[in-house]
Symmetry: C2
Subunit: 332 residues, 2 copies
């Protein structure tokens, strides 16, 4: 966090043969942690259920325990643990002790000074970052955008997350409210988005949207469509040749292409990376996506912008959080 | 230009009481130049017709003559002229002697090394910048976005130009193809844009679009609509209460709001500045614009983003070009 920079100082603990940071990716269901060195290698992993508690301390203590579990193994291997990097599904005020401003899926932490609390519990500097931003940084550091300075990342999950890396640095916006690429408007009077707006990219490219588009395409009522229909099932049906499933991915690809065109015309990135669980349908949506960008982008370079699948899967958030910690430690 | 940085060195010409740069804004019809000091004050102006010649040297020599006219007055007032800053209506390869890559309205200069030629003719370092980028920088330095670090600027003219300033620096994109904010998509199967795509912001918010929207709204055929209908006439009719003209500006404001929402959700600027000749209709389109952003933006801050009219009119491009020259000279 910005106000904790002073806590980051080079250690002279010369008996350690290496240094690690512990990175943690906090989800509504599970939390995953790993010890990560400054080359991006993962040395130890742990995964536990996220406590379903109203008490912020109960949730935060689970994070601290995951830190301890990883840190202990690092220390057993003579690695010094230098920081705790946490990717969270929400917005953070890094200037106010790492206070959680918004976290719809883990309401217990809302308004809690998570950063300050974890520093006290772990004894190391804590870096907090939004999970979509962390995943973007992870793909740039060690994934599909490795070696690139300017990248746009979309994460297709329950919603659509986004992140921007510009000239090698995460772009958070003037008020840390930027990078909401799932809320680029692609169909102004289109489907209602969970954010309340109509026609956001999220309303056409999330797992939730894939389910809705398939139900619409197949003419089934929402009642007929039983629980089993989700993005993965739609993908399987598309692979089996189901025309409504194929049509669904055509629509997903078209709207991803429209949103990406707007971003490419404004930002001009070197690469667009698409990850997240619902990006499993890649081979079904990438052709209509590319066709749409080719048809619409303003420059020749934009028409042919590199679009690649994310390479680090669930580890992107861990890696990106770790990178941001290493960056503050001055080691990358 | 990037490769000319070495030519920028601090002068020790201590007999000069002040220093100026000459800035020039090249348009298809006219070119305007001024001597500008490092506080942004304009000391001398000149304006001439842009030569309608197929010979790049004829056009470039007119630029050099405008430089001389301003430089001469600066020198008469004991100001040393340190650089020539030129805003051009096109794309530049700053790494190849300031070669003009694309300039649809002044075709003579296409593929011409304008930067290198002007350095030879004027004897001072030359800075070239795209005019929409220069205007954005001008509004940030000395206009509506003064004091802001992160700004989005839209210029409503024959087309819609755009520029991004992020953390105080112009964002040109990974391949100098960014900032094409007129080509954010606001209506995917909407009106054809001059760029070939459908539904760009430019197709709903340029002067050309205002004319088209008015003709559509009033039910006049393109033939019935005589030459006199242009954005200014539509504005006058709206002021007089013409319902179709009012409806035109409602549509313009709505689509500006949609495009701005996408940009605000992605970039999170401190301010959005709208300039250009067709922004004269400001009081007709700003309410629907703000209503649309309020309805659609992702965060509370985004919903209430500052949207302001440009403050420096035609001088924004001159000022922004001058700023970029002063920046390279190390004086701002």
């Amino acid at each position: 966090m910005h106000d904790m920079l002073s806590a980051f100082s080079h250690s002279d603990a010369s008996h350690h043969t290496s240094t690690h940071v512990v990175a943690l990716d906090l989800g509504g269901t599970n939390l995953r942690a790993a010890s990560i060195d400054h080359d991006g290698a993962l040395h130890h992993r742990t995964k536990i259920r996220t406590p379903q508690s109203d008490d912020p301390h109960a949730v935060a203590d689970a994070l601290a325990e995951a830190f301890d579990a990883c840190a202990q193994v690092s220390r057993q291997h003579d690695a010094e643990v230098r920081a705790f990097a946490v990717a969270v599904p929400g917005a953070i005020d890094s200037k106010d002790g790492g206070r959680i401003l918004r976290m719809p899926n883990i309401k217990a932490l809302q308004n809690f000074q998570l950063g300050a609390y974890l520093e006290k519990q772990t004894g190391v500097p804590v870096v907090l970052e939004n999970d979509a931003n962390a995943a973007t940084m992870g793909e740039v550091w060690q994934g599909a955008a490795r070696g690139k300075q300017t990248a746009i990342c979309l994460t297709l999950g329950t919603g659509v997350g986004g992140g921007l890396v510009l000239n090698g640095a995460l772009w958070r916006g003037a008020y840390e409210a930027g990078g909401e690429l799932g809320h680029i408007i692609v169909e102004p009077e289109g489907a209602l988005c969970p954010c309340g707006n109509r026609g956001c990219l999220e309303a056409y490219a999330s797992a939730t949207a894939m389910r809705r588009l398939y139900i619409e395409a197949s003419g089934a009522s929402a009642n007929d469509a039983n629980e089993e229909i989700n993005a993965h099932v739609v993908y399987q049906r598309a692979q089996a040749g189901d025309e409504h499933a194929l049509q669904t991915f055509q629509t997903v690809g078209k709207y991803l292409g429209i949103g990406i065109t707007s971003l490419v015309n404004a930002i001009d990135p070197e690469i667009v990376v698409i990850g997240g669980g619902a990006a499993a349908g890649w081979d079904m949506f990438v052709e209509p996506l590319r066709a749409e960008v080719k048809r619409r982008a303003f420059t020749e370079r934009g028409k042919n912008v590199e679009v690649a699948p994310a390479a680090r899967g669930d580890d992107a958030g861990l890696l990106g959080a770790a990178y941001l910690a290493w960056q503050k430690l001055g080691s990358v």
